[in-house]
């Protein structure tokens, strides 16, 4: 399997006595949407930061398109890896179009001026994410889902091979969750691109991801299609709580329901 991004034996510790990641192996292919799940403090955000090169792992390697991440220059990395943070925010009142144009930064020349092709790519990225009508508005004037789509358009304008997102749907209502997740599916499958999301909602993740990766205690507890990962015994072990699986109305992987202690 030719992985777009792959981690081998990834370890990370803020303090040597308390490792956050203890040897993580992870692969993602282009055309695959992978959700990284797990309990709070289990290391999923740290894993994302290591994959992005924002945190330097204390052990192990990350390779991007077969090349070590640590050996890539910042601009080269930005042309392969794009990142969408949990909460979209901007210190200045940039318009949506200006924010999407920032995605071109690593492709621009010495003076940092955008050419006609950059503007075409910005426009196409905004069309793809349905944000064209929002082009002139600032982030403050957008709903959470619209702002998130603008940030995804900005990431697509980077023309990456790998897209990493931190909890892209956690602040969104049901309808906006649906619009963002279906867009991510299209990006992953049709671009094709490797899309990795950190998420804490098992049921949302199971519905839209091709593969779930369960991270707990700094290790991969399970990695596979949603139906294989959502097992009551496994979830009890990882989350320390009893769960029931109920069939999802319609089709799809089962729903996980936590048992409330009596």
């Amino acid at each position: 399997m030719n992985a777009a991004i792959s981690a081998r034996g990834l370890a990370f510790a803020y303090r040597p006595a308390e490792p956050v990641l203890r040897g993580v192996d992870l692969d993602a292919r282009a055309g695959e949407l992978v959700c990284i799940l797990g309990p709070n403090g289990g290391g999923k955000t740290t894993l994302l930061r290591c994959l992005l090169g924002l945190a330097a792992p204390s052990g192990g390697t990350v390779t991007i398109d077969g090349r070590p991440l640590a050996g890539l220059r910042a601009r080269e990395r930005a042309r392969r890896l794009a990142y969408v943070p949990q909460t979209p925010g901007s210190a200045f009142a940039f318009s949506a179009r200006e924010i999407v144009l920032m995605g071109r930064l690593s492709h621009l020349g010495a003076l940092g001026l955008a050419g006609a092709q950059d503007l075409e790519i910005v426009r196409a990225a905004m069309e793809m994410t349905g944000t064209e009508a929002l082009a002139g508005r600032t982030l403050d004037e957008l709903s959470g889902g619209e702002a998130q789509r603008v940030m995804i358009a900005r990431a697509l304008a980077q023309q990456p091979t790998i897209l990493l997102l931190d909890e892209p749907t956690s602040h969104l209502d049901l309808r906006q969750q649906g619009s963002v997740t279906s867009m991510l599916r299209r990006v992953a499958h049709d671009w094709p691109m490797a899309v990795l999301c950190v998420s804490h909602d098992l049921n949302v993740a199971a519905a839209f991801a091709d593969r779930l990766v369960l991270v707990a205690g700094g290790r991969i507890a399970a990695d596979g299609p949603p139906a294989d990962v959502l097992r009551p015994d496994l979830l009890r072990e990882v989350y320390g709580i009893d769960v029931d699986l109920v069939p999802r109305p319609g089709s799809g992987p089962p729903l996980v329901v936590a048992r409330v202690p009596a």
């Binding site: 992005l52 990142y83 930064l105 503007l119 075409e120 069309e127 349905g130 049709d190």
Partner: protein, 418 residues
């Protein structure tokens, strides 16, 4: 969708299919009326697409190989089409060049006008050889350079700190440069040629002040706006005390010159070599800051996003602080510690052009020059009527800037309360 972007996507998207984004049922805009946002994007299989359709999986590094290297011929045709809608508001090279030329022409016109205006009349026939004109032109050029330096430093610091209250004077960088200037002058002749010595000492002072303010205000890797201003207050008090100490040590014959300098007054006769050196430093810092405009924009989205966009955040921080200290030092070496120019100008420019740093940095330099030329001319013009002889330009910028700063602070409080 234009043909250009259509082919571009065909190139990029290996599996050709129809893309469609539709507004969900019930989507409403802010006014509550249903939105017919039906931006449907269709990518039909064109010839380019079919050619590549056999490639199911992109080779490693396809992004790199594809994008900038070759430009589909059809894009050239698209480029020549009317593009106002596509590029509305975006700072493209051509648009920036037009804006810069217009701003430069305006600045030059104001400069030319102001060299002819003043309490002393100029020989109308051969004005260019009149010593009054020459002294005035040198002084206004120094004012312009100082204004440009302070405004560019302010714009860069505001962008770097994501903080609209950033300003070389408020943060104590200008007073640090002032300590350097006076220390250099107090050391006397042995320290070397004045044109280099003054800006060099000012630069050291500015850098020390910038580093200490930043170190004091930095907490867990973040720089809080209000801690920064407090740190600036402390550094300003310390620098003020140092300047007063140097004042006491001054030759009694030069005390009046010192006091006027400390209020922010341009000397009657500007040293031409000092003007050349400081003007060059301002231009260099301006160009260096402009090159980092895109990175400063990205920094507005947060450190992590900026890093993921390829911005070396740590190196950028050092570069902007050093460049701002350099521009401030050059300004203070010419005009003394002139307050609030670096705060006001970028704000006014941002109101007019939006927040993109390419524009803000480019036009703030001209804006600072225009403000200082106008303020200097005004001070020289009204001074005699007030019986003051000449008024220091720093007095006028302080009178303008203090209410401006208070208004900004109040607006920020209102935003935080909302």
């Amino acid at each position: 969708m234009t043909t250009g972007s259509y082919i571009w996507w065909c190139d990029r998207i290996i599996r050709c299919k129809t893309w469609r984004w539709e507004a969900e049922d019930g989507d409403r805009d802010e006014s509550g009326s249903p939105v017919s946002r039906l931006a449907s994007v269709r990518i039909r299989a064109g010839p380019q697409c079919r050619r590549r359709a056999g490639n199911r999986r992109p080779a490693a590094g396809v992004t790199r190989a594809f994008a900038p290297a070759r430009k589909p011929a059809i894009l050239a045709a698209v480029d020549s089409a009317p593009s106002s809608a596509r590029t509305a508001g975006l700072p493209t090279a051509g648009r920036l060049a037009v804006e810069a030329l217009a701003a430069a022409a305006l600045t030059a016109a104001l400069f030319a006008l102001c060299t002819r205006v003043g309490p002393l009349s100029i020989d109308g026939g051969r004005w260019w050889s009149d010593p009054v004109w020459m002294l005035r032109a040198m002084r206004l050029a120094a004012a312009a350079a100082a204004g440009a330096g302070l405004a560019v430093a302010g714009a860069a610091i505001q962008g770097l700190l994501r903080n609209p209250l950033g300003d070389p004077y408020v943060l104590g960088i200008a007073s640090g440069a002032g300590v350097g200037v006076r220390a250099g002058l107090a050391l006397g002749a042995w320290a070397g040629w004045i044109a280099w010595r003054t800006p060099a000492f000012a630069f050291v002072g500015a850098l020390v002040a910038a580093a200490s303010v930043h170190a004091v205000a930095r907490r867990r890797g973040r720089v809080d706006p209000f801690s920064l201003i407090l740190a600036g207050v402390i550094v300003n008090i310390l620098n003020g005390a140092l300047i007063m100490a140097l004042y006491l040590a001054t030759d009694p014959l030069r005390v009046d010159e010192f006091a006027r300098w400390a209020m922010g007054e341009l000397p009657e006769a500007v040293d031409p070599s000092l003007l050349a050196v400081c003007g060059g430093l301002v231009l260099g810092a301006w160009a260096a800051a402009f090159r980092r405009a895109g990175a400063l924009n990205a920094l507005g989205l947060g450190d992590d996003v900026a890093r993921s966009l390829g911005v070396p955040v740590g190196a950028l921080r050092v570069e902007i602080f050093v460049g701002s200290a350099l521009a401030t030092a050059a300004a203070v070496a010419l005009a003394g510690p002139v307050s609030f120019v670096g705060l006001m100008v970028p704000h006014v420019v941002r109101l007019a052009t939006g927040p993109d740093h390419r524009r803000v940095l480019l036009l703030s330099g001209f804006g600072g020059a225009v403000l200082m030329i106008a303020a200097e001319t005004l001070c020289r013009g009204i001074g005699p009527h007030l019986g003051a002889g000449r008024l220091p330009v720093g007095l006028l910028t302080a009178l303008l800037g203090a209410p401006f700063f208070i208004a900004l602070l109040r607006r920020r409080f209102a935003e935080e309360d909302a």
